[in-house]
C-alpha cells in the first residue's frame, strides 16, 4: 500500500512540456491541419425536432461546380446493428450511427441529415442549400414529465422500458429504470424526527469546451486512411468509424491532435466518419469543423432532470431514510447517465434505508453525452440540497450533519462494494478547519456547503518507454492530454526511473504507434495510464538490472536500483561503479540493444474521490443577481502528482458548476428549437463572474496505485450546484429548487415568497 511519502519529483510543479507550443500558437488542434488539395465538408441539419425523412435528393448539390462529394445516411455501409458501444457514453451502435447521420427519422432539431464537401467552406454551405429533403413532421415532446404520459408522441415506437417488472407491454419513451435499494425506507421515515420531500429541477447544460469539434480525414487509394481529430479517445473513434464505414480497423490510423477541452463531450464521434466517407468519395482530404451553433444544437450536452427527493433525519442528524426519484432527459436516443447518477447520490453517507430510482427518458433534444461525473451533479444537487435544508431545520451545522453520516473505510457503498481507504471525513475536517469557513459570513451574504463524490474508473491503458542512446527518455502513451497529463506522466516516470524531469518527454501516440487505450475520461488517465507508465518504467529497471548483472558478472538478484542507478546489493562483492540510466544507454549496443519498456493493463482499484465545497454569495433582491464572494473547493486527490494541474481541475470544475448553478441552461421553444445556441446567450462564466477559487488538496492515498493517485477530474463539478443553491437559500431565506438561479428566476421566487 502506498504511504504518504516524500517524493523527489512527484508533487512538484514543473512547467509542462507542451507549454511553449500552446502559448506560441504552434499546438495543432482538430481544425488546424492543412493538407495539399484539402477540401471542406459541411453538414445539413434537420430543421425539425421530430420528423420522418421521406427522401433526400443530393443531385442538385452535386451539380454545383466545386462540389466534390455529397452523402446522406443511406451512403453509410455499416453501423445499424444492436451491439452496445460501451465506454463512458452508453447506447447502441445503431443509435450512434443515426446520430452521426439520420436514416429514416430525425429526433432532434439539428440532427445531421446530409453532408457535402466542396472547394471552400462557403461553397459547401451554398451546396447544402441545394439538397432537397422531404420531411413528414411529427409532434414534439420536450419535457420528461410530458414524455412519460401515455398520450406522448413516441420517439422510438419499439422502445419497451427495461428494468421494470413485469416488463411493460406497450412501448413508451422511458428507455430504462435503474433502481438501488437498501433496508426499508418506509420504516426509516417512521423513525425520523423530521421528514422533508421536495422537487428538484436541473437544466440541460453543455460542456462548453472552447474548441468546436474538428477533424481532417484522408482516404488513400489502397483503402487505408488517416484521420486527425480532436478527441478524448482516438482508439474508440477508430473503432466507431471502422464499424460505420465497414472498414478494416487495421487500415485506419487515428491521430489525436491537441484537444481544446472535452469534459466528456469529445468521447463521441460526430464528424470523423462523415469526413472520411466524403474523402473516400472525393479522393481528397476533407476538413470538417463545427460552428459554435452546431456544437450547441447537435453535440451531446448533459441531461436536464426532473426529480423528487425525500429525507428522514433524527434530531441528532442521523439520516434514517432517503429516497430519490429522478427522470433524466436522454435526448433523441437512449443513454442518459442514470446508472452513475443512482450509484453516486448516497455514496458519501452511511444510510440504512434508501431507495433511488432513475429513468432514462427520450425527448426531442440532442442526444446527451458524458459531462464531467455524468449524472452525479443532477442527483447530488437534489440530495445535498435537501440534506442542507434538514440541517437548517434541525439547527445543525452542515459539516456536522455530514460528519454524523459520513462514509469511511469499510462502509458498504450503495452500489455494492465496501469502500477501501477514502477521504471524505478528511475533506469535511479540512473544511471545518479552513480559515474561510471559520471566518464570519460577510454581512448580508449567505454561506452554502455541499459534498461531491465520484467513483473514478480504471480501464485499459498502454504505455511504452524508450531510453535514447544518451539516456533521455520518451514516454509513448495513448491518452489524449487535455489538462496536462503529459507532464504528470513525465513526473511519474522521473520518480520511478530516478532521472531528471527535464530529460523525459511524453507523447500521445497515434492508433498505430501505441497499444490500445480507452478514452481520457472517467478521471482515469493519471491513475490508469499513469500506472502503465510506472509499470513500463519498472520493466526498464528490471532490464537494466539484468544488463548490469551481466556486465558485472553477478546474478540478476544481486543488483538493486537506487536513485536512477544500478548498484550492487549490500554485501555483494563487486568492485564496480554504479551505472546510471545514461551509462546503461551508452552501453546498450553491447548489452542487448536499445532499452525499452512497455506495459498494457486493465487498471483495477480506481480510488473514489470526495469533495467538500463552500461559498459565500450576496444576492441583489432588486435585480436577482448573485455575486459569488468566495469559493473554497476541498478534494481528496489521493496523491497530487502535479498539484497545479489538480488545482486546475478543481478550479475549472468549480467554475463549470458555478456557471450551471447560476446561468447556464438550454432554452427551447415549443418546436424544440434551441433559442440560445451561442456563447452570447448560453452564458458560461467570464472572469468577472468568479471569485478567486480557493483549493485545498487533501491527500489520502489510493492503496491501489503505486503513488496513491485517485482520479480528480470529475468530482469538482458536482458540489458547486448545491453549494451555490444552499448559499442563495441562506442569503435570501428562500429555497429555490430549480436551476439555474438566474436573475429572473430569483426575482420571481422572491416575489412569490413575498406574496405568500
Amino acid at each position: 500500500m502506498a504511504e504518504a511519502v516524500d517524493y523527489k519529483y512527484i508533487g512538484t510543479r514543473p512547467v509542462r512540456p507542451d507549454g511553449v507550443d500552446k502559448v506560441t500558437g504552434r499546438a495543432q488542434y482538430g481544425a488546424d491541419p492543412i493538407l495539399p488539395g484539402m477540401i471542406h465538408g459541411r453538414i445539413l441539419r434537420s430543421p425539425h425536432a421530430h420528423a420522418m425523412i421521406k427522401s433526400v435528393n443530393l443531385s442538385r448539390a452535386l451539380e454545383l461546380p466545386g462540389v466534390h462529394a455529397a452523402l446522406s445516411g443511406a451512403d453509410f455501409p455499416g453501423g445499424i446493428g444492436d451491439e452496445a458501444i460501451g465506454g463512458e457514453s452508453g447506447g447502441t451502435m445503431s443509435d450512434l450511427a443515426k446520430n452521426v447521420m439520420a436514416r429514416d427519422k430525425v429526433v432532434y432539431h439539428g440532427q445531421a441529415v446530409a453532408a457535402v464537401a466542396a472547394q471552400t467552406p462557403q461553397l459547401a454551405l451554398q451546396a447544402l442549400k441545394l439538397i432537397e429533403v422531404e420531411y413528414e413532421v411529427l409532434p414534439v415532446v420536450l419535457d420528461v414529465r410530458a414524455a412519460m404520459q401515455e398520450s406522448a408522441p413516441l420517439l422510438d415506437p419499439t422502445c419497451i422500458t427495461k428494468g421494470v417488472k413485469p416488463e411493460p407491454e406497450k412501448p413508451s419513451n422511458v428507455v430504462s429504470v435503474t433502481t438501488f435499494n437498501r433496508g426499508d425506507v418506509d420504516e426509516g421515515f417512521e423513525q425520523a424526527d423530521l421528514v422533508l420531500e421536495r422537487e428538484y429541477i436541473v437544466p440541460m447544460a453543455h460542456q462548453g469546451y472552447i474548441e468546436p469539434h474538428g477533424c481532417v480525414a484522408q482516404a488513400n487509394e489502397g483503402g487505408a486512411a488517416t484521420v486527425w481529430c480532436s478527441t478524448q479517445g482516438h482508439f474508440e473513434f477508430r473503432a466507431a468509424t471502422s464499424k460505420l464505414l465497414g472498414m478494416n480497423m487495421a487500415d485506419l490510423k487515428f491521430i489525436a491532435t491537441e484537444i481544446g477541452g472535452g469534459f466528456g463531450g469529445k468521447t463521441v464521434v460526430y464528424l470523423e466518419p462523415v469526413a472520411l466517407l466524403l474523402s473516400q468519395k472525393s479522393g481528397k482530404p476533407v476538413k470538417m469543423q463545427m460552428s459554435r451553433e452546431e456544437v450547441f444544437r447537435a453535440t451531446g450536452p448533459t441531461s436536464g432532470t426532473y426529480g423528487t427527493a425525500k429525507i428522514g433525519v433524527k434530531k441528532d442528524g442521523t439520516i434514517t431514510a432517503a429516497k430519490i426519484w429522478m427522470a433524466f432527459e436522454a435526448g433523441g436516443f437512449a443513454g442518459a447517465p442514470t446508472g452513475p447518477a443512482a450509484m453516486a447520490v448516497f455514496s458519501p453517507y452511511t444510510i440504512e434505508n434508501f431507495k433511488v430510482e432513475t429513468l432514462d427518458v427520450l425527448v426531442n433534444k440532442p442526444k446527451v453525452a458524458a459531462y464531467r461525473a455524468p449524472g452525479a451533479p443532477q442527483s447530488m444537487h437534489a440530495f445535498e440540497s435537501i440534506l442542507d435544508e434538514a440541517a437548517d431545520e434541525l439547527g445543525i451545522d452542515p459539516i456536522d450533519i455530514r460528519l454524523t453520516n459520513a462514509a469511511s473505510e469499510g462502509t458498504t457503498a450503495p452500489y455494492g462494494p465496501k469502500f477501501p481507504t477514502i477521504g471524505f471525513v478528511e475533506c469535511l475536517e479540512a473544511a471545518k478547519n479552513h480559515p474561510s469557513y471559520k471566518a464570519p459570513v460577510p454581512e448580508g451574504a449567505g454561506r452554502g456547503l455541499a459534498a461531491g463524490f465520484w467513483f473514478n474508473v480504471g480501464m485499459q491503458s498502454s504505455a511504452e518507454v524508450h531510453v535514447a542512446e544518451n539516456g533521455t527518455v520518451t514516454v509513448v502513451e495513448g491518452s489524449p492530454d487535455i489538462g496536462g497529463s503529459r507532464a504528470s506522466m513525465c513526473l511519474m516516470a522521473a520518480e520511478t526511473l530516478g532521472v531528471e524531469y527535464e530529460s523525459i518527454r511524453a507523447v500521445v501516440g497515434d492508433t498505430q504507434s501505441t497499444g490500445f487505450s480507452n478514452v481520457t475520461g472517467g478521471s482515469r488517465t493519471t491513475f490508469a495510464t499513469g500506472m502503465a507508465v510506472v509499470q513500463a518504467c519498472e520493466d526498464i529497471i528490471t532490464q537494466c538490472k539484468s544488463r548490469a548483472a551481466a556486465t558485472w558478472g553477478v546474478d540478476d538478484d544481486q543488483v538493486e536500483w537506487e536513485d536512477g542507478h544500478c548498484v550492487p546489493k549490500p554485501g555483494v562483492n563487486a568492485e564496480v561503479k554504479p551505472l546510471s540510466l545514461a551509462d546503461m544507454a551508452a552501453a546498450a549496443a553491447k548489452t542487448g540493444g536499445p532499452i525499452s519498456g512497455r506495459a498494457s493493463l486493465n487498471a483495477q482499484g480506481a480510488g473514489a474521490s470526495f469533495s467538500v465545497n463552500f461559498t459565500d454569495v450576496a444576492v441583489d433582491p432588486d435585480t436577482g443577481h448573485v455575486e459569488v464572494l468566495n469559493f473554497t473547493a476541498i478534494q481528496d486527490a489521493g496523491k497530487a502528482i502535479h498539484p497545479a494541474y489538480v488545482e486546475g481541475q478543481m478550479q475549472g470544475g468549480a467554475a463549470q458548476g458555478i456557471g450551471w448553478a447560476l446561468n447556464e441552461e438550454y432554452i427551447f421553444n415549443d418546436d424544440g428549437v434551441m433559442q440560445n445556441a451561442g456563447f452570447l446567450d448560453y452564458r458560461i462564466p467570464v472572469a468577472s463572474d468568479l471569485p478567486m477559487i480557493d483549493c485545498e488538496i487533501v491527500e489520502v492515498p489510493n492503496p491501489s496505485h503505486p503513488y496513491g493517485v485517485r482520479g480528480v477530474g470529475e468530482t469538482p463539478i458536482i458540489a458547486p450546484l448545491a453549494a451555490i443553491g444552499n448559499a442563495v437559500a441562506h442569503a435570501t431565506g428562500v429555497r429555490i429548487n430549480e436551476l439555474p438561479l438566474s436573475p429572473p428566476r430569483i426575482v420571481a421566487a422572491l416575489d412569490a415568497a413575498h406574496k405568500a
Partner: protein, 489 residues
C-alpha cells in the same frame, strides 16, 4: 501588391471578397492557425489579434487595438499591421505574457491561450506608462480579459499570469512594444479591383453610396462590423460590395462648439470611454461603457453602428435619449438633415433613415450637465453581455423641485423609448418618497416589455422599476450608488 502587413511582413492579399473575414484569411490562406475560432461571433476571444491601423489624415498613428478577427472583414485591415500570436514571440524568444502563461500554469487545454495572450499584450500596449502598468490590479486584469472565455481554468492562473507579466514588462517596457506602423508600401486604393471600399472623405462616401446598386445603405455600409458581421458569419450572407466608413475623418471626430458636442458616427466605444473618462467626465457613461461588450468589441464598435443597427437593447440609445440628442443624417446626394433621436425609431428595427441615407454624427446640447445623468444596465453577466434592460435618467433640480427630467429605457419595448408620462409626474415636484413611488408605479403600468431568452417580460418590468427607483433615490439623497447586475460595475 502588398496591402497589409502581418507579423512585420508585407503580405499580398490577392483576390478577396468583401465578406471574407480576417480570421479565415489568417487561418486558411496564411496558414497562421495559432489564431483560433471558438464561436465566430465575437463572444469568446479565441480569435483575438492586435491591429495597428495606418496613420490618420493628420498623420497621427492611432493606438493599436485588439479585436475579434472572426467578426472583422479582411478589407477592414487593408493597410494595417496585424499581429497574431505567431508574431508575439516564438520559442526561445517568448513575450513575458507567454512566459507567465506557462509558469503560472494558465493554459490547460490551451485552445483559449493565444487569444488571452493577445488580450493581455494589448492591455499592456494600452497602458500609458510603466508605472501605471506596474500598478494594475486584479480588476484591471479582469477587464482586460473580459472578452475572452476559458472553460478549463476558472481564470485564476490567467489573472496571475497577467499581473506577473505586467511587472516584467513594466521593468523593461521598450523591449516589448510590438506593433509597428504599417510600412508605407501601400498602393492607392482606387487602383485595386476588389469591392471593399474605404472612402476617405464625406463627399467620397456619399458618391460611393450613389454608385452602389443596393436598396438600403445599411446593407453595405460597414463601421465596426460587431453587429453587421454576424449576418456574414452566422447566416453566411455574401456581400457583393462593402463601404467601410471608419476612415472618413468627418465621422471619426468629436467636436465641441458652444452649442453642441458633436460625436462622429464612426467614433468607437473605446474612444468614447476615454473621452468621457478624461476630457468631459461623465461617470454614468463611463460605467456603462466599461461593461459594453468587451475590449475587443469596444475597440471596433461605433456609436453610429449602435444607433443605426436599431436594436431595442442597444446601450447608447437610452443614454442619448436622456441626453436629448439629435442625429445628423446625409444621403447619397450629399443632402443633410437633422432628426431628434426621439423621432428616429419607428418600430422594431425600423427607423426614419432613408434607403440611401447614413448617420454622420450625434449632437448633444453643449449645456448638458454630465453629472445629472444616471444609468443602470441589467444583464445576466457583468461583462461581455447584452442588456436585459437598461435605463438612463437625466434629472436636474432647483430649490428641491425637479426642473428637467428625461427618462429613457432600452429592452422594454420594440424600440428604445422615452417615458414622457413618467417624466410628467416628476416635473415640478419634489423628489420625495411618495413621488418616487408614483413614478415607479407609472413605469410599471406603461412598460410592455418583450419576453425572450435573456429575460421574461415580468423580469424586465420589475428590473426596470428597480432601476428607476434606485436612480431616483440616489438623486433624492445625493448619494450615488451602483445598481448593476453585479453590484459593482
Amino acid at each position: 501588391m502588398a496591402r497589409l502587413q502581418i507579423n512585420r511582413q508585407p503580405v499580398d492579399i490577392g483576390n478577396f471578397a468583401p465578406h471574407d473575414s480576417l480570421l479565415n484569411f489568417l487561418r486558411d490562406t496564411q496558414g497562421l492557425t495559432g489564431t483560433k475560432e471558438g464561436c465566430g461571433s465575437g463572444d469568446c476571444g479565441a480569435c483575438t489579434v492586435i491591429v495597428q491601423p495606418p496613420a490618420d489624415a493628420k498623420g497621427q498613428l492611432p493606438a493599436p487595438i485588439n479585436l475579434n478577427s472572426c467578426i472583422t472583414p479582411l478589407g477592414a485591415v487593408l493597410d494595417c499591421h496585424v499581429l497574431t500570436i505567431e508574431g508575439v514571440g516564438q520559442p526561445g524568444n517568448l513575450h513575458p505574457v507567454q512566459d507567465a502563461m506557462i509558469t503560472e500554469h494558465a493554459s490547460q487545454c490551451g485552445f483559449c491561450t493565444p487569444g488571452f495572450v493577445m488580450s493581455l499584450v494589448a492591455n499592456q500596449l494600452r497602458v500609458e506608462s510603466p508605472a501605471a502598468l506596474k500598478a494594475q490590479t486584479r480588476g484591471n486584469a479582469i477587464e482586460a480579459i473580459s472578452g475572452n472565455l476559458c472553460r478549463c481554468t476558472g481564470y485564476r492562473p490567467i489573472l496571475a499570469a497577467a499581473l506577473a507579466s505586467n511587472q516584467t514588462v513594466a521593468a523593461n517596457p521598450v523591449a516589448f512594444f510590438i506593433p509597428e506602423a504599417p510600412q508605407n508600401t501601400v498602393a492607392p486604393i482606387t487602383s485595386t479591383p476588389h469591392q471593399y471600399h474605404h472612402p476617405t472623405s464625406l463627399p467620397a462616401l456619399a458618391q460611393r453610396l450613389k454608385e452602389q446598386p443596393t436598396t438600403a445603405a445599411t446593407d453595405i455600409l460597414l463601421a465596426g462590423t460587431t453587429d453587421a458581421w454576424l449576418n456574414v458569419t452566422q447566416r453566411y450572407t455574401a456581400l457583393p460590395s462593402a463601404i467601410d466608413i471608419t476612415r472618413v475623418p468627418e465621422l471619426r471626430s468629436i467636436d465641441a462648439t458652444d452649442k453642441t458636442l458633436t460625436i462622429g458616427a464612426a467614433v468607437t466605444h473605446t474612444e468614447l470611454l476615454q473621452f468621457f473618462d478624461t476630457t468631459t467626465p461623465c461617470p454614468a457613461i463611463v460605467a456603462i461603457l466599461r461593461r459594453f461588450g468587451s475590449p475587443q468589441v469596444r475597440n471596433r464598435g461605433t456609436i453610429g453602428g449602435n444607433i443605426a443597427n436599431a436594436s431595442p437593447i442597444a446601450d447608447w440609445p437610452p443614454l442619448l435619449l436622456a441626453l436629448n440628442a439629435t442625429l445628423n443624417l446625409m444621403n447619397a446626394e450629399g443632402v443633410t438633415r437633422r432628426v431628434e433621436l426621439s423621432d428616429y425609431y419607428l418600430g422594431y428595427r425600423q427607423t426614419v433613415l432613408g434607403a440611401d441615407e447614413f448617420l454622420v454624427s450625434v449632437d448633444v446640447p453643449a449645456d448638458t450637465n454630465w453629472q445629472a445623468l444616471i444609468a443602470h444596465k441589467i444583464s445576466k453577466r457583468i461583462e461581455d453581455d447584452i442588456s436585459s434592460t437598461m435605463g438612463a435618467i437625466y434629472l436636474q433640480q432647483d430649490k428641491q423641485l425637479v426642473t428637467t427630467c428625461r427618462i429613457a429605457f432600452g429592452g422594454v419595448a420594440a424600440t428604445p423609448i422615452r417615458l414622457t408620462d413618467v417624466e410628467a409626474l416628476l416635473l415640478g415636484q419634489p423628489l420625495v418618497a411618495a413621488n418616487i413611488d408614483r413614478a415607479c408605479d407609472a413605469l410599471g403600468q406603461t412598460l410592455q416589455p418583450i419576453s425572450d431568452v435573456r429575460a421574461s417580460a415580468n423580469y424586465r418590468r420589475s428590473a426596470s422599476i428597480a432601476v428607476l427607483r434606485k436612480a431616483l433615490e440616489e438623486l433624492a439623497s445625493g448619494d450615488r450608488q451602483t445598481l448593476t447586475a453585479g453590484a459593482h460595475a
